[in-house]
Amino acid sequence: MSKDLRVFDVSMEFTRRDSNVLALDRVEMNVPAGRFVSIIGPSGCGKSTLLRLIADVMQPSAGRVAVGGRSPAEARREHEFGFVFQSPTLLPWRTVLQNIELPLDIVGRSKRPHSSARDLIELVGLKGFESALPPELSGGMQQRAAIARALMLRPSVLLLDEPFGALDEITRQRMNLELLRIWAETGTTALLVTHSIAEAVFMSDQVLVMSERPGRITGIVEVPLARPRTLDMMRSTAFFECVNRVRDGLFGVEAHAGSTEHHDMPLVVEAY
């Protein structure tokens, strides 16, 4: 079961000391149920804020968010969200298994249909590490545990806030593939915040490009690549075209001035 996400005319203003900072400026967004959508933008453009507004961690200054037609607060109380943070945010005194089962401890084991922790551990490839404590795991493994925890209550919306930003390139590539596999198996709506162009294109059905502060959605790039995605697709012309369109959206005229119109020459494009 997945839900669609809609953001209507949302603005967010922060008060810092005496001045007000406009973090988000009238953002419109529509993520159909079951799709994988990425938000890409420069650091500090408010993309993480947008994710927190959807998850009801913050309230927008103006505008409205709807999750499957309901308010974020209602959706949160119904445990519709799985949230994966930039850092794994595991509780250091709980084992991997206990960390993954934390949502069950809070909601109550009998209250809600949930996945079996053992299945999830298998799904994220942490079999054999059930009783390990978080500091004993590598960064990538900790993030897998965090993903499993986010999936525990079978959320209809998976919110990912630069989940692989702290990982090395090789681990990141592998985690991307695994995340896609997990997403395909669970069938949730996924919203990924990232600042990697290639990651955004490779993962998503649609990439939303955001401008620098105040954050606005300045471009939407549809990704026509088939599913399931494979690493080979990263060499295809379609992939590079999408990458270039996202880059154009991010840098506007500057990109054109620098690299002219070599869209058919993939070699000049850096993947990350």
Partner: protein
């Protein structure tokens, strides 16, 4: 046992013990040749005090142990409650912290007679002073510990729609434990020292009383014996709490208290 382990065991236990024995032997030798000042007894004379009158030790250590523990326990309960209240009600954070600092800065030796005046003459005075002397690290540990959860962890609990009580149970309390236990450990010797200082003002039994009588009767071996017993009691309090810390904190987190 491999070489590295044997080496570390040696440097941890055997080496300090060896140094201690060497110092004691040296002191005893110096005393034998009358090279030590008159107010420093030979180590053997101090040990003989225990041998000749074992009831002297037990009848003075046990009351102090009781008073220090009772004061420590009261301080722990009050500090944890006050610390939790301070974190819960933001307005009270500053006042409670400052109050703790004030109590901690008051000289015990001056307040003990005042407390004796209001509370009468009995173990309750020493208990109260042991509590006052040991509260601060426990208060700081509780306050700092309950605020140690980071923003992401709190957001996680929020997204999971955890109630306040659940947030306390699953996140705040376990997160506070390392800080609280660090405070409890530091506070244990303070409770012992507080109780002993308070015993100077009026107690017929206790290490402090023993110390005072010995001082006034120029019985230097007994003075040194009371110093030895004080150290032993304070150190065992610290050691006991270190042991508790070691076994309760299986996730092994070293924290530093800021005070």
């Amino acid at each position: 046992m491999d070489v590295a382990k044997a080496k570390s065991a040696f440097s941890k236990v055997a080496l300090p013990m060896g140094v201690l024995v060497a110092i004691l032997c040296a002191a005893q030798t110096l005393k034998y040749f009358n090279l030590l000042p008159i107010f420093v007894p030979g180590p053997w004379d101090v040990v003989m005090q225990i041998w000749t009158s074992p009831t002297l030790v037990s009848s003075n250590v046990l009351p102090t142990l009781y008073k220090a523990s009772a004061g420590y326990l009261i301080a722990a309960i009050v500090a944890v409650c006050a610390g939790s209240l301070a974190v819960l009600v933001r307005m009270l954070y500053g006042p409670i912290y400052n109050f703790g600092v004030c109590i901690n800065s008051v000289p015990i030796i001056a307040t003990a007679p005042l407390i004796a005046l209001t509370m009468g003459n009995g173990p309750q005075v020493q208990i109260a002073i042991a509590a006052l002397a040991s509260q601060f690290p426990m208060l700081v540990g509780t306050m700092q510990g309950l605020r140690s959860a980071d923003a992401r962890q709190l957001e996680l609990m929020h997204v999971l729609s955890a109630s306040k009580l659940q947030t306390l149970r699953y996140l705040l309390a376990p997160g506070a434990l390392p800080f609280m236990l660090a405070g409890f450990k530091i506070a244990a010797p303070s409770a012992v020292l507080g109780a002993i200082t308070a015993e100077w003002v009026g107690a017929d039994r206790g290490i402090g009383a023993l110390m005072l009588y010995a001082l006034f009767s120029y019985d230097t071996p007994k003075v040194w014996l009371s110093v030895l017993l004080t150290c032993a009691l304070a150190a065992s309090g610290y050691g006991l709490m270190a042991l508790v810390q070691h076994y309760v904190l299986w996730w092994d987190r070293d924290v530093e208290l800021e005070s």
